[in-house]
């Protein structure tokens, strides 16, 4: 038996909202980063769901692209965070406010 598509979409929306909230309210760069991953995967879930509903594979192909790009992004993002930590001894995003006007 299969779960109907709206459930997947609802879960995806919930995950995306959770990720957005995490990006907006958390101060630790690492957690913000994880929240971004959460948002990406919420989108992945949507893509897969629709691929299944339409009986086509192009959505699943896009998911692979997203995964690959996310992996690359993780590498760069973590590198930036490590560098910020070395330079400023903190990963609190509110302490990194060089662009303040």
């Amino acid at each position: 038996m299969s779960v109907p598509a709206p459930f997947y979409l609802a879960l995806s929306a919930a995950l995306f909202a959770l990720g957005t909230l995490g990006v907006l309210v958390r101060r630790s760069a690492l957690v913000v980063f994880m929240s971004v991953e959460l948002m990406l995967n919420a989108v992945n879930l949507t893509l897969v769901t629709f691929a299944r509903v339409r009986g086509a594979v192009d959505g699943q192909i896009v998911v692979f692209f997203v995964l690959v790009v996310a992996a690359a992004e993780v590498v760069i993002g973590l590198a930036i965070i490590v560098n910020i930590f070395r330079a400023r001894d903190t990963v609190d995003v509110d302490d990194v406010d060089l662009l303040r006007g």
Binding site: V23, L24, L99, G101
Partner: protein, 628 residues
């Protein structure tokens, strides 16, 4: 005749050379370049004179076209020089007297910081003046006309660190500029009427194009005369010349006595064919000349500054020249111009010698008794003074007498009487100046003890000697008792060109006229001697003295009626400019700056905030999308 080009070009090159490298070269080289170019120009002018003399009288008018300057529609303006007896006579005066004054300047300016600058300005002036006199059309003349005005400004304000000199330069420039507007309008009108500004065409076609006494001719002549009153310091634009004495004395001699101020007279003689078509304008010229001659002679009576006495005297003598050309005595005007160039330059150089001896003072009340330490200067001044007063056999006598008799024979008895009265006053004021400066007890100021008056060096004395000789013998140029003088005969081809046959000179009663004018001059000398040297006559009242010392309050009236309102308007506009216009501009800039500073506070540097903005943006777009 193409070498006529080099007459104005050489001093121009001298200007460039001295201006560019004069400081590096040192004084000696700067002086050689300055004097040498003018001397060669003089030699060329002499060559031109001889070449003209070799031609038949009718052919003595040569046009030298240098290049095509500009054209617009049917109007064509070539860069053209006109070599004829009139222009060559003027060129000889400018380079001859000018050359002597250049040489005198070598001694006079020897210790000045700006020696090379001085000579480069003086050369530029000579070049501009030669362009003016050799010009073949009004537009080329205008180059010279403005050029001499510029140099006059530069040289009056030569010691520009002195506020009086700087403001005198500006005043001279602005006042002559007022006249130049009229001159420029006159040129436009001439081009409008004749289709060209060429002197040859103007002279040839004046009779055909301008109805006698018509409005066109009258307006044209009056506009050009306005230019002449500015340049030649006549009423109502005379006010700059006395202040122009702030410049170095050789400059006063060259520009403000011998050459530049005579440009107006020369211009009218050059355009005499046009002026003959406007009897009313000529009447105006004559009356302005006569009134100026009388007024300026009155003002010279009470002036205590030696150079300003000579300045008023120059205004007065220029008035005589305008009086002459106003009654159609062109030759007499040029003759007086020539002799005046000799004797007034001599008087100024003598005054410069006095200043040199006394360390720069020009106030005659601090002089006196200088004939003993300065015998040669006193003699030079005396010769100039006799010529100015019109005592025979000095040159001024002949030229002034020619003007007086021309007025008389022309039927202008009133103008003749005015000029005669001015002649008497001339004798009085120049005797006063001589007595106050050279006779009487010495009046040493406190600091003179260390600085005994000394005679000028030879390089200054030599030009004075040459000018003194010219002043004594200059009269032969225009000896006109029975036949036209040499100058008149030389100029005749030019002056007859537009005028038709010259009316036969009436010599009836000439002897009596001469006797009267000489008598007036002698009486003037006697009165001056009695009042100022012997103190035999006590005259005058406080009120008249004040009245004369303020030049009839003409300048005060200008100040009150024109300068004052213009100043206060300017001050008002300055406030408006500073507070309103500048305020608006800087206010706009400041507002934008402040807006930028305020908006920059939106950039908090908080990542979460930026993300929120992005989220809000996305939501807004989504909402728009969904609701559509």
């Amino acid at each position: 005749m193409t070498y006529a080009l080099w007459v104005p070009l050489l001093p121009l090159l001298g200007w460039a050379a001295n201006g560019l490298w004069g400081r590096r070269w040192g004084r000696w080289a700067a002086a050689v370049v300055g004097c040498g170019t003018v001397a060669v120009a003089f030699a060329l002018a002499v060559a031109l004179r001889l070449a003209l003399g070799a031609l038949p009288p009718e052919g003595r008018s040569l046009q030298v076209d240098l290049y095509h300057w500009f054209g617009a529609g049917s109007i064509d303006v070539p860069m053209r020089l006109l070599v004829d007896p009139l222009s060559v006579t003027m060129a000889l005066i400018v380079t001859g007297v000018g050359g002597l004054i250049h040489i005198y300047s070598v001694g006079y300016m020897a210790d000045d910081e700006g020696f090379a600058r001085y000579f480069s300005y003086l050369n530029l002036f000579t070049a501009a003046m030669l362009t003016l006199v050799l010009a073949g059309n009004l537009v080329v003349m205008f180059i010279g006309w403005e050029g001499v005005g510029l140099c006059s400004y530069l040289l009056i304000a030569f010691w520009f660190t002195r506020p009086a000199a700087a403001s005198a330069g500006v005043k001279a420039f602005l006042v002559t500029r007022l006249g130049d507007v009229g001159f420029l309008l006159g040129i436009f009108l001439a081009v409008g009427i004749f289709g060209t500004a060429d002197f040859g065409v103007l002279t040839r076609d004046a009779q055909a194009r301008l109805p006698l006494g018509g409005a066109a001719a009258t307006v044209l002549c009056l506009l050009l005369f306005l230019g002449a009153t500015g340049k030649s310091a006549q009423l109502p634009l005379y006010i700059w010349l006395a202040d122009a004495m702030e410049g170095p004395t050789p400059v006063s001699a060259l520009i403000h006595a011998a050459t530049m101020v005579t440009a107006g007279v020369f211009m009218i003689v050059r355009l005499h064919a046009v002026y003959l078509r406007a009897p009313l304008a000529m009447e105006v010229v004559a009356v302005v000349g006569a009134v100026t001659a009388l007024f300026a002679a009155c003002w010279a009576l009470v002036e205590n500054d030696l150079k300003r006495v000579l300045a008023y005297s120059t205004i007065s003598q220029l008035g005589y020249m305008f009086l002459a050309v106003g009654v159609g005595a062109w030759g007499a005007g040029i003759f007086h111009l020539t002799s005046h160039a000799f004797f007034k330059a001599l008087l100024f150089l003598a005054a410069g010698s006095v200043m040199h001896a006394l360390g720069g003072t020009t106030d005659m009340r601090e002089m006196g008794g200088l004939a003993r330490p300065l015998p040669r200067t006193a003699a030079a001044f005396a010769i100039g003074a006799f010529a100015l007063a019109g005592i025979p056999p000095f040159s001024g006598f002949f030229s002034k007498d020619e003007i007086l008799s021309a007025d008389f024979h022309d039927g202008h008895i009133v103008l003749w009487a005015v000029a005669l009265a001015a002649a008497g006053l001339t004798a009085i004021y120049i005797v006063r100046a001589f007595v106050m400066t050279f006779l009487g007890p010495p009046r040493p100021p406190a600091d003179r003890a260390a600085h005994a008056p000394h005679e000028a060096p030879r390089i200054m004395a030599a030009p004075m000697a040459v000018l003194a000789v010219l002043t004594i013998i200059g009269g032969v140029l225009g000896w006109s008792f029975t036949s036209p003088g040499a100058l008149d005969r030389f100029l005749a081809p030019v002056l007859a060109a537009g005028a038709g046959p010259v009316p036969a000179e009436s010599t009836q009663g000439e002897g009596l006229l001469v006797a009267v004018s000489v008598g007036v001059a002698l009486v003037g000398l006697l009165i001056g001697w009695l009042i100022y040297d012997k103190h035999a006559v006590r005259t005058g009242s406080r009120m008249i003295h004040e009245w004369l010392a303020h030049q009839f309050y003409i300048e005060d009236a200008y100040n009150a009626l024109i300068v004052g309102p213009v100043r206060s308007t300017a001050r008002l506009l300055a406030v408006f400019d500073r507070d309103e216009l500048d305020g608006a501009v800087t206010g706009l800039g400041r507002t934008i700056g402040r807006a930028g500073r305020d908006l920059s506070h939106l950039e908090t540097g908080y990542l979460r905030q930026y993300a929120t903005y992005v989220l809000i943006g996305v939501l807004v777009i989504l909402a728009y999308w969904v609701s559509r």
